[in-house]
Symmetry: D2
């Protein structure tokens, strides 16, 4: 049985996980990277995940590859339409309902939600204005949301995804929904090199290595990677989750491919 909960982890510098006291009940203590399996294996609704989490102590282990305890906040969605965010601030677990359903990296969710209040004057509709008796037409489609930030930082991506999703047309079919999600993700795409750090080396720049779309009603995971424009799907209905089944890893970094018209 697949629970239909979607679990994502995003970077939140400054995160501090909980302290485990020596006399804790070991069955109530869990390391961050064991959390997905524990949640996906035990719950199917966020309401019960929340109750479950409140009884647990969650600690973070240093990651060899990263050389640090990865500072993460968690975004969860269930198949009933619920959305929830878990953060670890000053060693304390914070669980938030997330009626907006969006999460990006830093800073904490409540800051992002408050920040939406700075963009309440934006509109999907073309505008014009009369100034000193003269009518000025907007520059065309999109003139109602001039002022929306276009950069690659997490606060700007949060605003962009939130508002453009709100402005977009309702979709009718599953395929339309997937394509709308993909076009929305396009608007926060980071081409390689656009967002750099001084210095060189593997972490010298960021790019959108891949995007994923998780359809937790139809139990399909879509993804697209940086070097290939084609969309791939993992249909979880076709995967056996019975004990003892061997699973291959999926290679996400797909190679460039193009379809010849002739």
């Amino acid at each position: 049985m697949i629970c239909g909960i979607v679990f994502d982890a995003l970077w939140l510098p400054g995160t501090e996980y909980e302290e485990v006291s020596p006399d804790s009940d070991p069955s109530k203590v869990i390391e961050l990277f064991d959390l997905p399996a524990w949640i996906l294996g035990n719950f199917d609704a966020l309401e019960s995940v929340k109750k479950g989490l409140e009884e647990m102590t969650i600690w973070g282990e240093s990651n060899e590859l990263l050389g640090e305890i990865p500072p993460l906040h968690l975004s969860l969605h269930d198949k009933y339409g619920g959305s929830m965010v878990v953060e670890f601030i000053d060693g304390e677990m914070k669980i938030y309902d997330n009626p907006n359903g969006v999460l990006t990296n830093a800073p904490e969710l409540p800051w992002h939600l408050e920040n939406l209040r700075n963009y309440v004057n934006l509109s999907a509709y073309m505008k014009e204005a009369e100034i000193n008796g003269i009518t000025y037409k907007g520059m065309g489609f999109g003139s109602g949301y001039v002022g929306i930030p276009g950069d690659g930082t997490p606060p700007s991506k949060f605003v962009r995804i939130t508002l453009l999703r709100e402005f977009s047309n309702a979709v009718e079919t599953e395929e339309e929904g997937i394509m709308l999600a993909l076009h929305l993700l396009n608007t926060v795409d980071i081409p390689a090199g656009v967002s750099k750090r001084e210095g060189s080396g593997p972490a010298a720049f960021e790019n959108t290595q891949w995007v994923t779309i998780k359809d937790n009603k139809n139990l399909k995971l879509y993804f697209r990677s940086y070097d290939c424009s084609s969309l791939f799907v993992v249909d979880l209905n076709k995967v056996s989750f019975s004990n003892g089944t061997n699973h291959e890893s999926i290679i996400v970094d797909k190679e460039f491919s193009v379809i010849d018209v002739f």
Copy 2:
């Protein structure tokens, strides 16, 4: 022989084509929609296109579908790296070198180039700042170009494409170049409904119906349409341009498709 010139036409409200006087030499008069064939059939470098155009009078015919003379400015690129824009303002043809190589819709090219001067403080590099003795780290990658506009109007798209192309990493292969172009185009993607006009009907909203990438060194035309994420290519080297060859039209609106991983 394929000339390697790329010819694009973009919407510029307010365009006024030239007047044709009754005693004009008919061989020096050409309707706008005959211009691509005339240019692509007679020239291979923008320098000579420019000389050719200066001798011609270009008029615009009302288009039945649109119910108006389409107001267009033209963006041309040749295989030698040249880029040029042609506009029709107050009935006069203006030909501009376009060293920046970018064009969007309204307003005229010189305005867009002047407008770039408002964004000279933006940088690809992450930033931090000391304010009153306290260090504030930026919000992460992308903090050097906060202030870049994120909306769907042509001036904002012009700025975004220009700067993000400038910031991006150099590419080494043809495939990397295609994918960089595609990711840059993602940053100006318009999901359906995000940019609306009051009222309803077919012209009630704009979306990015398709994107094209024209490789005029390798003579390939790539495209991707709204409903399908896969990339298609027309390899002009495989097309016969000899007289009498029948050509089929290419359907650009591709249907949703996805590749199953299992």
Copy 3:
């Protein structure tokens, strides 16, 4: 003796003061509007104010004129250079050091400080940029901080005052300091009608009714009101604070005045 503490109260919708339990020690309970007298009468350094406040319960009384308990957060400065903010969130008093020294209205201080991280790429210095091999000069002085918000909301005023103060030249004399403060306040001035609410009536628009500058080293209070450009000062050194002295109120709303050159 004048303590040299500056006490300001600013609007913070959503504020909830503390609950007073029936069995509280009455000497440890104080109404918000009695707080200025209590602080200014008992302390001269913020460190001790902080300790004092932590022992008190602060409640808010409904104000007849306003028809509500005014939702306020408090900004304090002492003559030793300290700065502190007090907020009441969900019935709990929060005391923050404020090394940035700035406060505006909504939202809470920590949000504003986090928000500064969105503006770390701004600079006082004129800029130019090379784009695709062409040099674009900025539009002149000020081109280093294009992207700073210009509107009248409290987050934008917070950013503007913080950054422009940081960018401004060091002052050498008291008079230069006063004038710099006044010019900084100009940059957040709200002309009457610019910031409106739908509907009419006395609260239908906001304007900067007056500005004050508090020099807590020299113990002078400067102010300027909307209808008169002249600067006024209350020199606290000239005011008798001995018991039994009668004090007149000061009329802050000065009338238009102008100095004739001839």
Copy 4:
């Protein structure tokens, strides 16, 4: 007789004045700095100024102090409500009606007017928005014009003055009008050091050295300088313009002054 025409000159880098040919009629040639006297002495309406200018050739003399021919465009207003701008581009005089009535420095007027089309979605009114079913209130007064630029470059000042003037309340008296103009000018005030150039020396930073308000109905010139907040007036009705009258210069740089309340 005072003509009621207001003549201002503002910095426009790239300006090229007209060439004077050796066989020009000397009575039709005038140096830029003689232009104010010629216009103010010969005309009282912009319509006739325009006709007059079209017959003249205007050249620019190198200025010893500046070490260059000052590149200026001219803003003129008459007492009938007319407004006009004169620019010198590629050695050609351009005369524009300026129904918007605003001018700042670079770039040329038509660019600024086109640029207003980017701000047609801004409003004086407070806003709120529903996003994904949740209502977000704006951050208070001013939330309708978030997105207005706050920096010190001429394009941003042009937008700010234009829109805030449009949003402001109608004034009823002369004094209210003067104070509104002053508050609008506050919003484009540049505190010393905020707008810098790399390097040091007298031209290393810009500040708003003085502001002037010209009331061409009542024939009064108001000014305020950087170091003194008081408003000064030159009442032209009191000035004798008869031949042979000696005029003293007016010192604009007023010293700090403050009015003691006690």
